[in-house]
């Protein structure tokens, strides 16, 4: 069976009409996962995929199928599946087994989705390339000398290689959208609080959000509809009334923060493609309006204060005592120092130290306090902008996928790859990355991504504009 261009929607129809069995679909996916093992997209292929397929088939046969029943999905390695190893691609948790299901896992399981395996990522989701994984880099299926992006690079690469039909990732500063852009798939960062964070390994709790990868906007919407909703296990998840209250209004006006988009460091080919994409949207009936949002440019500074601050607090729980890696020292203090020094990789150590610095007495106000203030300004400015425009467009990333090793010794240049995605997390609004063509380099066709940003809870606007945009790309 050829599942290369098979969407979730099409697979669902074939499963319901019995043109294909769940097992046939699962076998086809497993075969590709095996054939593309060299990409290192999956850290583990689960051994119970066929058993899961039987459960899903039964749901279909008994008429209890949902849109996700029998659909093989890949799970980022920081999302808990009870009884399964979940390592966050860290030596610290190499052998750690989840003691409960994440909220999103529970929803997918109840819907009858099939978990194919867990995917590689940057260690504890800290990075933009999967190069900080303790288990080796993932290769980009479009050019194996390049990174797939990150931190959810394994999920994006597995999908781009057709080793699943959809995937979940987490996005704290662009970790779904940037790899989606690099791998030529669709990726959604939902509104903060619309999808449960219960059972996701916390990186920066005020910014973390789980979301889907899929081949089309329609498939992305199908997965989002399955995983969204209130969860009493996540105190920051919003009540369903609030998530669903937003009246749908078809978006018409696209705002473009021109000064921000034309910042230095943005690849001219990305800008050219972006202009062409906007022209295509104009032809599709959208009005494109230039807007000024000077605070967006400071999103990255705010992010690299708030995020490490939360990282240093959240990762304090990994002490070599309760669970995870343990190294023996002469006394308890040395146990802590050695367990954490050896268990965490370099990027994680760097961010913990940075967070410890910005939260330390005497510096707290100058860094954390100021960053929180600028965060409020950014939210306010964005809310103002959304009075004039329905959605905002930027490129997803300033460049196409870069070479493996190109940025790994220069953390600041790696951080700059998140410039367009980070402000979205700072404001808590939803955004989607949609494939918008390719650039050719060294004989490879490297995908680019278009990012649309909407107000809180207006995912439906992203899907509507996204589907129109997909039409322009055909």
């Amino acid at each position: 069976m050829d599942i290369k261009n098979l969407t979730i929607k099409e697979a669902h129809e074939m499963l319901i009409s019995k043109k294909m069995s769940v097992l046939e679909l699962a076998e086809a996916v497993l075969k590709i996962a095996e054939d593309t093992k060299d990409l290192n997209a999956y850290l583990e292929i689960f051994d119970d995929v066929r058993a899961q397929a039987e459960v899903a088939q039964k749901m279909i046969d008994e008429g209890r199928a949902t849109m996700m029943t029998g659909i093989p999905v890949a799970m980022k390695d920081n999302i808990l599946i009870k009884g399964r190893i979940v390592s966050a691609s860290s030596k610290m948790l190499e052998n750690y087994r989840a003691t409960y299901d994440a909220g999103v896992t529970k929803k997918l399981r109840e819907a009858g989705a099939i978990f194919v395996g867990r995917t590689n990522m940057d260690e504890f989701a800290m990075g933009g390339s999967t190069e900080t994984s303790a288990f080796g880099v993932t290769k980009n299926p479009h050019d194996i000398t390049r990174v797939p992006g990150g931190s959810s690079g394994g999920s994006a690469a597995a999908l781009a290689a057709n080793a699943c039909l959809g995937a979940l990732g987490t996005d704290t500063g662009g970790s779904i959208r940037q790899p989606a852009s690099f791998c030529g798939v669709v990726g959604l960062k939902p509104t903060y609080g619309s999808v449960s964070r219960s059972g996701l390994m916390a990186m920066a709790s005020s910014l973390d959000q789980a979301g889907p990868f899929a081949k089309t906007v329609e498939d992305t919407e199908i997965i989002f509809d399955c995983i969204k909703g209130h969860d009493p296990m996540d105190s920051t998840s919003y009540p369903d009334e609030l998530v669903n209250q937003k009246e749908f209004k078809k978006p018409k006006v696209i705002g473009v923060p021109v000064d921000f988009v034309r910042a230095k460091g943005v690849d001219p080919r990305v800008l050219k493609n972006f202009e062409e994409s906007l022209e295509a949207m104009k032809k599709a009936g959208y009005e494109v309006k230039e807007i000024s949002l000077p605070t967006l440019a400071h999103g990255l500074s705010v992010y690299y204060i708030l995020m490490p601050a939360e990282v240093s607090s959240n990762l304090a729980r990994l002490d070599g005592v309760r669970y995870g890696y343990h190294a023996d020292g002469a006394n308890l203090l040395e146990d802590y120092m050695k367990s954490r020094g050896e268990g965490f990789g370099r990027e994680v150590r760097r961010r913990i130290l940075l967070g410890t610095y910005v939260l330390s007495s005497g510096y707290y106000d100058a860094y954390y306090g100021r960053a929180r203030a600028v965060q409020e300004m950014l939210k306010r400015d964005l809310a103002e902008a959304f009075k004039e425009v329905d959605i905002i467009a930027t490129p997803t990333a300033p460049t196409p996928a870069f070479k493996i090793g190109e940025k790994s010794s220069d953390p600041l240049s790696m951080y700059l790859a998140d410039i367009f995605t980070v402000p979205v997390n700072i404001a808590g609004v939803p955004a989607i990355s949609i494939p918008c063509g390719f650039v050719e380099e060294d004989g490879s066709k490297l995908p680019l991504g278009m990012q649309f940003i909407a107000p809180h809870f207006a995912e439906s606007s992203l899907f509507a504009a996204g589907k129109d945009f997909e039409e322009t790309q055909k």
Partner: protein, 94 residues
């Protein structure tokens, strides 16, 4: 923004992370570069008249509907590096 080796050592101590001598200088330089970059928030906040505090708040709830005691004990303790019965085992601190 100048970071010295002794600052790195102090931070590593606070964060309970052993850092090798060879890594200290790399971390010192990285922290200095990153802090210089993020320091722009200070000027921005002053220039644009940013509010002093944001709206983040803690979300609390009643501790109710608790599960029966002991149902997760084995699953959780099985993940511990060392245990004694139903307790975590650590080195003596006194």
């Amino acid at each position: 923004m100048s970071i010295e080796l002794k600052d790195v050592e102090h931070l590593a101590g606070l964060a309970r992370i052993a850092v090798s001598d060879s890594e200290k200088e790399v971390l010192r330089k990285d922290l200095e570069d990153i802090l210089e970059y993020v320091s722009q928030v200070k000027e921005v906040a002053a220039e644009m008249g940013a509010p002093k505090e944001g709206e983040l708040r803690n979300v609390m709830r009643e501790d109710e509907g608790a599960h029966e005691g002991g149902v997760f004990t084995e699953d959780i303790l099985n993940q511990a590096p060392a245990r004694e019965g139903n307790r975590l085992s650590v080195k003596k601190i006194l």
